[in-house]
Amino acid sequence: MYKQTLSELAKGLRSGAFSSQELTQTYLKRIQQHQNLNCFITITEEQAMRAAKNADARLAKGDAEPLTGIPLAQKDIFCTQGVKTSCGSKMLDNFIAPYNATVIDKFNAAGAVMLGKLNMDEFAMGSSNETSFYGAVQNPWDRSCVPGGSSGGSAAAMAAHLAAGTTGTDTGGSIRQPAALCGITGLKPTYGRVSRYGMIAYASSLDQGGPMTHNAEDAAIMLQAMAGFDPKDSTSSEVTVPDYSAGLNNSLQGLKIGLPKEFFTADLNPDIAATIETAITEYKRLGAEVIEITMPHLKFAIPAYYIIAPAECSANLSRYDGVRYGYRCNNPVDLADLYTRSRGEAFGAEVKRRILIGTYALSAGYYDAYYIKAQKIRRLISEDFTKAFNEVNVIMGPVTPSTAFAIGEKSGDPIQMYLSDIYTIAINLAGVPAMSIPAGFVENKPVGLQLIGNYFSEAHLLNIAHRYQQVTDWHKHTPKGFE
């Protein structure tokens, strides 16, 4: 049953074909079997079985919601009351969250089962999952390769069928890039659509949580449970949440697809370019028309991001001081030593690098030249999207310039690592929603197609993804050894 989609499992639970307890056992067993992928930081077996039992009672009573009894796994960035929430860092290795993230509360209220907490790049800073304190995650399609990051555990767990759905967070591509490299469906919603309360902060004006699933139909169900206004998050949007499943089958006749010429340059692997072209041809068959567009400021997205994100990170991570929770160094001689050594001993190299860059960019004399400059460029990038959406309904392109790279290949070269997010970062700067859906394989490794929509157009993106998944089967492939 683990190979079924979330929607199929929900039907199976309702028809009584299997119980949530049986389903949860099945996944827990698979998680044990495939522990060498290193997807999980914490497995919450007892809690999962308790939740499954409650879900079965709810299902029997007939008051089940779509996610009741469905085994999910959560990125270890979401606070889970009474359960270790590490954010992939030594700093929070001993942190038992005293409260739940809003997203976790919502899943609990829906009766979903949590199997455990998923591995990730430390504080979500990374594109390969290699910066995790808990070690690299293997890509199920090629175990010598990275799954992408920062939601690497979430993507690999989906590809290996270790959960029916997982969550991720996306600050510069951290849902879409691992989704692409692992051949699954990932959705980064509009900024403000999903509450950030209890989601450990990296760069607060960019961070957004979202679902990672096998297909768009499942993503619609997950997003329905996650989305909505939350008074506990001051940047949460009050825009009404539509029914994400209702329009999945709408016709794509007359859909205007924009292809930014800046996406299709020499940096893009030609085989990936060909794969994207094939997918676009499929959309034409579904009735879409294609318009070449230009977004002249896209090339400034990486430079602007690597000021804005580190600046926000240096401020957010100043809370880790060794005083109230988290790691504390041994025998501090004074308060300055306590702060400096606790932080120095518990943060990894990439987190330190970003704190340093952010501190530099915000320091006296450099603030205008770096931080304000980057914010001005952010506006230009955002305006590129506004202009594009006056002409087209959706923008399409690649998610990544290459397929999954080898573990260790880029970990020594931060700049090379940063460039792997070249097609995803601009979306976060603008705050618009985007998806990665499986579109084929290059040398037996998955390729993702990126769909970018206007603000709060998640329902339309899911519709566009779903129609493609009705006529293709890329999202149904399973890596060898995980059948």
Binding site: P98, G192, T235, Y325, K376, P414, I415, Y418
Partner: protein, 95 residues
């Protein structure tokens, strides 16, 4: 190189971030590389552009000035590195 090891030490001090002496050169190197990367921003004239701090141009939402939190001191302090008599302990600050 844009940043010297001395500047790295100064930034690390501002961030209260301990860095091993033998790593300082490597940080100077990689941070200089990042500043090279972001220098591309300077090829664009942005004199008349208004900075954008937030994607939705939102106004900070306010809430009524009433107590909305309950006291959870014991729960929060149960995960603290060192507490005594309901207080967080740190090294002596005043002699």
């Amino acid at each position: 190189m844009l940043l010297t090891p001395r500047e790295i030490k100064k930034i690390a001090h501002l961030a209260r971030l301990g860095i091993d002496a033998e790593d300082i050169d490597a940080y100077a190197d990689s941070l200089s590389g990042i500043l090279d990367l972001v220098a591309e921003m300077n090829t664009l004239n942005t004199d008349t552009i208004v900075p954008m701090a937030h994607p939705l141009n939102q106004v900070q939402r306010l809430r009524p000035d009433v107590v909305s939190e309950v006291n959870q001191r014991e729960q929060f302090q149960s995960i603290a590195p060192q507490v005594e008599a309901g207080l967080y302990l740190v090294p002596k600050v005043i002699e």
